[in-house]
Point group: C2
Chain length 287, copies 2
């Protein structure tokens, strides 16, 4: 697929994900937080296009592209961190897609892209974390605000893939890098399979709920704790067991209101959904 | 402004316009028609990016760029005509913006772009009309399905600006070409002025209502008749006279439900709002 088409699939994935409603606890077309609103996600999605285009052409390296994406996202909106985690998944996938001559090779290419990352990619990502003031659990003892982290990364020869290996046990985004984007590809299949029956909005919502029910969300773990993340996943599982789709959608709406009130937003799950949507659109999904 | 930034302003304008709710009778984030949905507008906005980029670099001519925009829009979604009228306004404005060294010169540049159009631009637009099967009132006796129209255009030396001159008396989009994008620039000012007080969503909704109250919508005239368009504009005027913003917004919601039920969509007004949003974003508006 030509680079411009790859970039458009990635951008459309960002737009479809933030639009899908209700995604319990997260911003969507009908739900805003006070300082971060739906329109900030639209502006971030528009703003990042040239970086997605560069990624599809492999015109730069993984770490530097993620950092550029965050810079552009923040230049185009004042709502704060909208797509940080999403870029960590999207950038290598977009690079891989740009290199594919055959759509079936996306998974293998993506694995290659992340395995080939360097120490410099780690340093760029750390710069991005620190510049964007994103709340993440620092990997190992590499404090984000610590200027000496770059030296430690160099001394220890920590490539970005190695950093993700260290973080994989407690961070679902890092885990995707290590496990060959397993959950991301599962989400892609789930969305594609559900679209004919439920339409694009509900296909995204239901897949988001499935993902949430099977994995404790890292963003909730970092903002609250493991117990809260576990609770949210258990609730999602119970709702999905209700069988009737109308009952499920109604329960999702109530669940959404509750989580929004508490400020519990499963942001990492949303990031994986964006990457999953990208894979389905790259694979030719229509809606 | 560099071409990529111009293109992003145009794309973001398309996204903000379709998201703004409720825009009486039109598709927005909360209202769909059966065959055309909000997501089709998102896909069209993503799909058209490379054409906006080309326009910002003046890499092709007005007519051909409008036709390419329509082709890309339709390649990325199955919802039919989402942005035809918008492209007729956006393309010359984006070309003009790409040529501006100073933001203040946008209006003059835009007037120059449309005045310099050629016979070939007319032929390209006619091809686009016919390929996209858009319902428009044909200009003069140049039937859209008539293959001989291209010959007539050539014989009579009808540039696209001349065609718009002929249509300007009954088509508000054509009229913008002739009057120096007067209403479009008014919308831009109105949106920019309202954002600090009302936020981006309501700034767009209120400006849309003002535009509708002052002009009979061409899309309604074509789909229904002059009387219907007049009625809709009168209703919009009465609602805006209510003074209190909460009463106004409530009345807009009821008005929206009514028009949607009747299938009365003021599509040409929406096209001008997109172009107005582009001008405000190009001018540096934040939200």
């Amino acid at each position: 697929m030509e680079p411009n088409s790859v970039a458009r699939c990635a951008q459309l994935a960002m737009l479809l994900e933030v639009s899908a409603t209700p995604k319990p606890g997260n911003i969507d077309r009908d739900h805003n937080y006070t300082d971060t609103r739906f329109e900030h996600f639209l502006a971030s999605s528009a703003g990042v296009y040239p970086v997605l285009q560069k990624a599809a052409k492999s015109e730069s390296e993984v770490g530097s592209l993620i950092r550029c994406a965050i810079i552009e996202s923040n230049r185009w909106q004042d709502g704060g961190n909208t797509h940080f985690g999403a870029f960590i998944l999207l950038i290598p996938l977009v690079m891989a897609a740009g290199r594919c001559t055959d759509k079936a090779c996306l998974k293998a290419q993506a694995q290659q892209v992340v395995r080939e990352t360097t120490v410099n990619d780690s340093i760029e990502l750390y710069r991005a974390f620190s510049e964007a003031k994103v709340h993440v659990k620092p990997v190992d003892e590499l404090d984000l605000d610590d200027a000496s982290s770059a030296n430690k990364i160099k001394e220890q020869g920590l490539t970005l893939f190695k950093l993700m290996e260290i973080a994989a046990s407690y961070d679902m985004i890092a885990n995707e890098w290590i496990n060959g984007f397993e959950r991301t590809f599962e989400c892609a299949s789930s969305i594609r399979d559900k679209v004919p029956k439920y339409g694009i909005n509900d296909a995204v919502v239901l897949t988001f709920m499935e993902l949430l029910s099977r994995n404790n969300d890292t963003f909730i773990q970092t903002k609250f704790d493991d117990k809260k993340a576990e609770e949210v996943s258990t609730r999602a599982k119970i709702i999905l067991q209700k069988g009737d789709i109308n009952v499920i959608m109604n329960d999702i709406r109530s669940f959404d209101e509750e989580l929004l009130k508490e400020g519990v937003n499963p942001g990492s799950s949303a990031d994986i959904i964006i990457a999953g949507l990208f894979i389905s659109l790259f694979g030719g999904m229509r809606f």
